[in-house]
């Protein structure tokens, strides 16, 4: 069966390897791990400069059955139903294969997905500012991933292609809550202007590990 969903898991640094291992035993082939940073909203930790939490993001292409199994494992073995243990979610996709049928391509767009994953790409260093903006708009957390753009030739002494450094911020929330967050990011980060960044929303079919922040959320849940 062809995989039709991308499974993302954000866990503490060092644990993604175990998870990948575990998944491979269940028959999931191929996975990719990259480093990210979580943030902790505590003002005390922030003042001390230690609000950063090292995380790892695991990305797996899974079939529906595997995704079910993985979610069960997330709950039972990785205790993701508990607070601060990480988050996992699935995004529908179609993998480009030479013989893939273009038929089932709209599996996510057709129906309204219950959750969304906002991916914002901004210049390096703005990721935390963005998290502040998102938190004010009701976001519960996010993961910052360091990335870079394609090389740009510049007029300098060395014949280098300078790679502009970027922060990518992943925020998962219910579809309803994501709207104001996305709007806030768009406005506060001034994404309207050229080259300030982009914000993308991906459909998320299922999520585990999403919790209310300590201290009740102001907006009522729908």
């Amino acid at each position: 069966m062809i995989p039709d969903a991308l499974f993302f898991a954000v866990v503490d640094r060092g644990k993604a390897g175990d998870l990948l291992h575990w998944a491979r035993e269940k028959g999931v082939t191929g996975g990719t791990i990259f480093a990210g940073e979580g943030t902790n909203p505590s003002p005390i930790l922030n003042f001390l400069g230690i609000s950063e939490v090292h995380k790892e993001v695991l990305m797996l292409a899974v079939t529906h059955e595997h995704s079910q199994q993985l979610f069960a494992a997330m709950k039972d073995e990785f205790r993701m139903d508990k607070r601060y243990k990480g988050i996992a979610f699935v995004v529908p996709f179609r993998q480009w294969l030479p013989d893939a049928k273009p038929a089932a391509e709209d599996n996510g767009r057709a129906k309204e997905p219950p959750f969304v994953c906002l991916i914002t790409i901004v210049d390096k260093g703005k990721g935390e500012l963005l998290m502040d903006v998102a938190r004010k708009a009701g976001a519960r957390g996010g993961t910052i991933v360091h990335a870079h753009g394609a090389g740009v030739p510049q007029d300098i002494y060395f014949p280098l292609l300078i790679e502009p450094q970027k922060d990518m911020v992943f925020i998962v929330d219910s579809r309803v809550h994501a709207r104001p967050i996305q709007a806030a990011i768009y406005q506060e980060m001034e994404l309207e202007e050229q080259n300030n960044g982009i914000v993308i929303a991906l459909p998320v079919l299922r999520v585990i590990g999403l919790y209310e922040p300590r201290g009740a959320r102001k907006r009522g849940r729908k």
């Binding site: 991308l6 640094r13 990948l20 291992h21 191929g30 996975g31 990719t32 791990i33 990259f34 480093a35 902790n40 930790l45 400069g49 230690i50 939490v53 090292h54 990305m59 292409a61 995004v91 529908p92 996709f93 993998q95 480009w96 030479p98 391509e105 709209d106 996510g108 767009r109 969304v116 991916i119 790409i121 260093g125 500012l129 870079h148 753009g149 394609a150 090389g151 007029d155 300098i156 002494y157 060395f158 280098l160 292609l161 300078i162 450094q165 970027k166 990518m168 994501a178 996305q182 709007a183 768009y186 050229q194 080259n195 300030n196 960044g197 982009i198 993308i200 929303a201 991906l202 459909p203």
Partner: protein, 634 residues
């Protein structure tokens, strides 16, 4: 896990074996006075707290500072500016290093005042500046690192013939003194910054190697000084050993002194950064705040760490060395091996290097594997030094010459990332823990061994520690390289696959696909070019590691392949075409080749095209525009 807790657990894991070893020894083979043992425990606690805070500070401040400096260097418009600035950076971080001044004073005494302490400090700093400058040019001009190091060490070999053995030991000690607790993290961060900016296929290997380049500077400088002044022999003996008395007294006595030393060491670099920031960088407030906090942590942590080491570990090292040498002479090499193996892991720079390996290789190279190899290397170095103390006929160059020669030879057949890490490891291993605890142990052993010269044998220890990790990690890299090549040969031939015509969407709404391509490292530039030709806009690249098809097990360590994830936002009517192009042109067919995913992106409430920014093909453009790029059906 919070960052601070992470550091604490990391440091305590490496510190516990050392404490256990010392306590075991002090109850069995060596008689240690109670107050010295208690002071050792107080020192260990200070070391734990200090090192954890220090590493946190390095994380917060040095990476940013290194990054900004590197950007400034790499984007200079003239070669002159690059040369001057990189020289200045190397000079400034070295000139304030307290260890170097201590060494200078020792050399001044040992040489009968022919070489003054200040002259030595300046010469060594100039040496480091010149080497950093050359190293920067090498990196940015993409010249071969093994060749560069082979030439550098070739020059050192030639000069070494002209220098007496006693001075040979001092030259390496000078290099050990310059790769101190502050300089090494900064130089590592600077290199990481340079390689990040340069990017490309060699970004991973370029993140390492500068510490190795830098440590050659002092060696060359001191050798030249010895030849120019005609100084051949070391005079005098080391000071008589007098352990401090009391438990907290020495600690409190040490703390303010060490604090000032650390402050002085940190000052030039910080000052340069703030001046540059004022004039040029204009770092945003949040980041600046973080850097300042980081610098404060670095200072406090370093002061606590060094206080712990000086007051708790130095006397302990001497006592153990003396005790063992007196009663259990035969045990010295074995204990030396064990001690070298576990003590080096408490070295601050070893942790910083580990972090950098994780960051630069996307976690592909297991840090544990590097740590173990490094440890064994240093263990052998100390064991070798013990043999040298016990048997005076064994000369220092018996180890150094074949060791470095083998390392240089193998570096041409080794995985390039390991070569850089290896040369760095030499500098990293000879940090403050080795220079105090292990050195004191060796000196203690030498003092109790008839026929050994405390001063000369002591200096030789650092030289050994600077050589063996280079050799051991390069050997690891060579073995690794063989495995990789073998694995590649065994890889099944790619299946010939015909690519089906790309289904071009005919949707009306301007909606987008988020295209994620997982590729092997180094392919991203090509992928972006292909996609751009096919009408895609800008892309973002993340470094990661992944399993794909053939996995490699290496001594029970799992080696994942290094991957790049490229993210585009593409009009969904041409995204499939682009995916097809990527698939075909990058040969993503076979096992572990790569994958392309298309995820529908939602345009949520916002005016759809506005969500996207940049050169994405507009909705008005005909999807057939890139027809010639697509494949014709076969």
């Amino acid at each position: 896990m919070s960052l601070l807790r992470e550091k604490f657990s990391e440091v305590s894991r490496s510190l516990v074996p050392v404490v256990v070893m010392v306590i075991l020894l002090s109850f069995t083979m060596v008689k240690v006075e109670t107050n010295i043992l208690l002071r050792f425990i107080v020192g260990s606690i200070l070391l734990l707290v200090g090192l954890a805070i220090f590493l946190l500070g390095i994380d917060l401040a040095m990476t940013s500072i290194g990054d900004h400096m590197a950007t400034e260097l790499a984007t200079s418009k003239t070669a002159y500016k690059v040369a001057v600035m990189s020289f200045l950076l190397g000079f400034l971080v070295t000139v304030a290093e307290p260890d170097l001044l201590i060494l200078g004073n020792q050399v001044e005494a040992a040489s009968g005042k022919t070489i003054s302490a200040m002259m030595m400090v300046y010469m060594v700093s100039i040496g480091v500046g010149v080497m950093i400058s050359l190293g920067t040019f090498r990196l940015l001009q993409s010249r071969s690192y093994p060749v560069f190091m082979a030439i550098t060490y070739g020059v050192i070999f030639v000069l070494a013939i002209l220098v007496s053995e006693e001075f040979l030991a001092i030259t390496f000690d000078a290099s050990g003194a310059t790769t101190g607790a502050l300089t090494t993290p900064f130089v590592l961060a600077l290199t990481a910054g340079l390689s990040r900016i340069k990017g490309g296929k060699t970004a991973e290997e370029n993140s390492f190697g500068m510490v190795g380049v830098m440590s050659a500077g002092p060696i060359l400088a001191v050798m030249l000084m010895s030849i120019l002044t005609g100084q051949e022999h070391i005079q005098g003996e080391a000071e008589a050993f007098m352990p401090a008395t009391g438990i907290l007294g020495p600690v409190l006595h040490e703390l303010p002194k060490v604090f000032v030393e650390s402050l002085v060491a940190l000052l030039p670099l910080s000052a340069l950064f703030f001046i540059m920031n004022f004039a040029k960088f204009k770092v945003p407030m949040r980041e600046l705040g973080r850097i300042i906090k980081g610098l404060i942590y670095t200072l406090l942590g370093l002061a606590l760490f060094l206080t712990g080491v000086y007051s708790g570990f130095m006397d302990m090292g001497q006592i153990i060395g003396r005790g063992i040498a007196e009663h259990y002479n035969w045990f010295l090499p074995i204990l030396g091996f064990v001690m070298g193996t576990i003590v080096v892991l408490v070295e601050p720079a070893v942790h910083v290097l580990g972090q950098q390996i994780e960051d630069a290789t996307g976690g592909r190279i297991p840090i544990k594997l590097i740590r173990i190899t490094l440890s064994i290397g240093v263990g052998l170095a100390i064991a070798g030094s013990m043999l040298r103390i016990m048997i005076p006929e064994v000369k220092l160059w018996f180890f150094l010459l074949p060791g470095f020669a083998t390392a240089i030879l193998l570096s041409f057949f080794s995985d390039p990332v390991f070569v850089g890490i290896a040369y760095d490891a030499g500098g990293v291993a000879s940090g403050p823990m080795t220079a105090t605890f292990v050195l004191a142990f060796a000196q203690g052993a030498a003092a109790m061994t008839p026929g050994a010269n405390v001063l000369v044998d002591g200096f030789g220890v650092i030289a050994m520690v600077a050589m063996t990790p280079v050799l051991s990690i390069i050997i690891l890299g060579a073995v690794f390289q063989r495995r990789t090549l073998k694995a590649q040969r065994e890889e099944p031939a790619m299946l010939e696959e015909t690519v089906a015509p790309a289904p071009v969407g005919v949707g009306e709404a301007a909606s987008y696909d988020c295209v994620l391509a997982v590729l092997n490292r180094g392919l991203s530039d090509e992928a972006i070019a292909i996609a751009r030709d096919a009408g895609a806009g800008g892309a973002t690249i993340i470094h990661g590691r992944g399993s794909g098809g053939h996995d490699m097990k290496f001594l029970s360590f799992e080696m994942l392949k290094e991957k790049e994830i490229v993210v585009w936002l593409i009009d969904d009517r041409i995204s499939a075409t682009i995916a097809a192009n990527l698939y075909e042109k990058l040969d993503l067919g076979g096992e572990g080749g790569g994958k392309v995913f298309l995820v529908p992106a939602l345009a949520m409430g916002l005016k759809a095209p506005g969500v996207v920014n940049g050169a994405i093909t507009g909705p008005n453009e005909a999807p057939e525009a890139d027809g010639e790029e697509t494949n014709t059906p076969t």
